[in-house]
Symmetry: C2
DNA sequence: AAACAATGAATGAACAGTCATTCATTAATC
DNA sequence: GATTAATGAATGACTGTTCATTCATTGTTT
């Protein structure tokens, strides 16, 4: 063997790429700007991904996979739907506090119609949403009229929406607090009850 | 006067710009691609806007202003909050049917942290949200714990979220129907009641 | 232990193409 | 002929991608 691959460099590239995409958009996040921010040579980015598009797509897929895995863990120690709402909202708020750019990145990518998740990830999301819906309708925590995509919107997109508007300082420039997550939890829970 | 300005060209530019931004992103929506799609010379776009950024920003401001004006009209013939929810959701669903790219454009721009509305527009939105909140709390259509930004999220962002995911064919590829708007109306109304 | 390949991690100049913007020029109307 | 709407070639900066080259580290040979 020659030199060992510096894993640190890879994570620096990931962070830099997400940061640049959030800050400058996909088109504005040039390979050279990502490489500069990650303190890495331009050509190095092509050692792991055949192109810019693949790099960014992989980052999105990874981020979604993180959330999917987290939710799967929650569903294993089967608890109530209300508890899942609490855990999920806390998860997003925690992410907003420690890695705000990651939340922005995920939300931004999901909002744009030209980026789409892999069929595998969408399948994951469908399955999980259906399981939560079933669980909720058995315990009457979710109204009988609900479909699984509505569950996804309320439990995942609404919290991200709330966080994203706050991080944008859309209404005012104040930090997210415990009160915010409590409000989101209540709004989502009430809405789900139907 | 010499030649009259061809207003038709201007609207063609607007349509083309919105289409390209939605389809290719801000960075990918090049001036030349917009001009080509609008069947207009490249230099013509600089007759009305000093640059690309100003053009797109004006389009966003205009689109938001449309919605603001619509909501102001609704609030003049003062009706119940539930009726406002119905009218607003119908407005968005109508837009989704006839100008899907406009809905995508607005939603996409609002989601990205690097684009921000003018202070005037944000002020409009704050005022309207507050008026709806007041109206709703007087008639108990909106729960006592609600704040105006939460009203905005539920009445504006949630319907757009729903529409956007459908237009993306996120879960499945089916057209929006009457049932969808009815569902959104119910979910939002129930959530607001608290 | 010292010298020497061999390996592959990492670099960045070079390439053809595209970008936003400018402005001298042309075309249409008065 | 005067006015101004409209054009699009030209410009310099930057794009994503390639790949010959350099450099650090390993195992092998002396």
């Amino acid at each position: 063997m020659a030199r060992a691959i510096d894993e640190n460099k890879l994570t620096r590239i990931y962070e830099a790429a997400i940061y640049q995409v959030v800050e400058e958009g996909y088109g504005g996040a040039s390979i050279s700007s990502i490489a500069r921010k990650a303190d890495v040579a331009v050509g190095y980015l092509y050692r792991f991904y055949p192109g810019k598009h693949d790099l960014i797509n992989h980052l999105l897929d990874n981020s979604i996979n993180e959330i999917v895995t987290e939710l799967e863990l929650m569903l294993e120690r089967v608890i109530s739907v209300n508890e899942i709402v609490v855990l999920l909202v806390d998860y997003f708020f925690n992410m907003a506090q420690h890695r705000p750019h990651h939340v922005k990145f995920i939300y931004q990518m999901l909002s744009q119609s030209r980026f789409s998740l892999s069929e595998e990830r969408r399948s994951n999301i469908r399955d999980l949403s259906r399981r939560v819906l079933q669980l909720g309708q058995d315990s009457r925590a979710i109204g009988p009229r609900y479909s699984y995509d509505e569950v996804f919107i309320l439990m995942v997109m609404v919290p991200m929406e709330y966080i994203n508007l706050n991080l944008k300082s859309f209404f005012d420039d104040r930090p997210l607090t415990e009160r915010d997550s409590a409000r989101v939890i209540e709004i989502v829970s009430v809405a789900l009850r139907g």
